[in-house]
Point group: C2
Chain length 347, copies 2
Amino acid sequence: MEVTNKYIVIKHHIDGAPQESDFELKTEAFSLSAEPGKNEVIVKNLYLSIDPYQLNRMKNQSSGQLAMDFAGAIIPGKPITTFGVGRVIASGNSEFNKDELVSGILSWGEYSIVKEVGGMLRKVDTMGFPISYHVGILGFSGLTAYAGFFEVCKPKKGEKVFVSAASGSVGSLVGQYAKLFGCYVVGCAGSPKKVDLLKQKLGFDEAFNYKEETDLKATLKRYFPDGIDIYFDNVGAEMLEAAIENMKPFGRVAACGVIAEYTDKGRRASLDMVHVVYKSITIQGFLVGDQMNVYKNFLSATIEPLRTGKLHVLEDISRGVESTPSAFVGLFRGDNVGKKLVQVAED
Amino acid sequence: MEVTNKYIVIKHHIDGAPQESDFELKTEAFSLSAEPGKNEVIVKNLYLSIDPYQLNRMKNQSSGQLAMDFAGAIIPGKPITTFGVGRVIASGNSEFNKDELVSGILSWGEYSIVKEVGGMLRKVDTMGFPISYHVGILGFSGLTAYAGFFEVCKPKKGEKVFVSAASGSVGSLVGQYAKLFGCYVVGCAGSPKKVDLLKQKLGFDEAFNYKEETDLKATLKRYFPDGIDIYFDNVGAEMLEAAIENMKPFGRVAACGVIAEYTDKGRRASLDMVHVVYKSITIQGFLVGDQMNVYKNFLSATIEPLRTGKLHVLEDISRGVESTPSAFVGLFRGDNVGKKLVQVAED
């Protein structure tokens, strides 16, 4: 059986902040049968993960650094891969059967063909949670937050934690993990509404709107008069500079994302390395792909508070494949609150 | 018995590169007897350690960060403390006896009174090595190099190591430890003579004169076509930026010193944090004072190669207390080759 598959491509490489006009909706005739003898699975996409790092994959890769093994360069005119959840429609792989729910590397479209299935797909046990949770909190956003906080930052109870982009997919979970663990947590975000959410719903001790602050170094001094033990950095640039100057001795910075640089590669963090040396600060970059070994620990630490409502889920869901470009572009304007998803179809 | 003690002070706080005119020679009547009942030791200074970080202690401390517990602010007109080796002349402390050789916190002068002796002095067993070695290679320079390389960088055999200020007191040892351990080592220094020394005498695989390079990023790419595993950073600023861009995945940076910033606090390292995240780089500042627990390991790793001549000692010795300001000022012009010392007196 054949259908028409709608999918999104970039028209050209993107430099700077993305615009909706950088994207294009395409249609193609799409076979819903797996080709006999081929190790491929046909998936009907349900939810797609929309993440800032994907912008780096859309850039001209001549600098050679921005595409990774598990998330290669995005080529103009070609399908855009992303993490997502869908239902198997047809399978040429004996591990996957029709109608099974799977998560893995799908594409910005209504349907995906997953070729060379090994490692690219896994079955989803919903455990009674909404399907969308398996893209965000129980997917890579959750694992990134968990591993970044516990494995990279190595927190101790009572430590003072600062989280930037704290209402985002990862930051909102880092702050909650830190609170559940017994830390003092301050977050920053980009609107009064987000700040309220952090304090009222997610239980952050304090939160501030960075757009209202003119001297971030002084702001952090105000919220952390005795200094910061842990900074979970999703943004880079001035916020990282200010955090470094406010770190305590033996402070740790988990460098998870650099959204400031993604849209402007000149917006670097101009670090006062004297602080780094004199306060024995550690700055550690990490990728979630290297943290799969803690996946089980992550699940056991997450499922219980999720069931009991101690861990709150922030989802920001757009509907329909056509909404994908605007969903993505909005990330860089701070439109999203929590995990940005596109629901491509009802299950 | 009383003598005249010559000693050096700063006339005023120093901002920027130090000049000899910032210093002043003073004389004072100095008693060679320990005051009865006081826990103090009178020491005749022999060798004084001259180190770049002391400049930070000479600055106006209003920023509050640059003086440390073990090395407080240097006050205009007052004695300048430093690490050194000397002979006990008189002692009010039962642990120390006349004529014993001691190392510890002495001052830029001919004599020191060490008050509240606990932790400030220790007896020196020369183990047959020259006295000066106990200020440098067997003192904090050696421990800094050893702990910074082995404890902070956690090297593996065969890894590619880059060392800046490689002919300096710490860098020259880091490179040699790395070679003895089985790494590939490239160093940079500031003159052709130093570069020759690194390659011919110290056994570095490669070395270059950074003053002859116009694009440090390209330079490092040339010496490390497959990337850097470990960067031992003594300088900060552009060199750190270039190293970060040339690191391999899981690369480690030991941030030991920031000589570029010491004389110009605006000369920061403008880091491309995308590299730090995407290559899972760790940047770790450290202070030798936190590494005393590896002192025994350091000695056992150092004494044997030192005796057998596998570890070379670079010392740059000025003579007479009057030479201390020029010895210190010269550090920031790169005058010294290896550990800078002032020999105040013959033993």
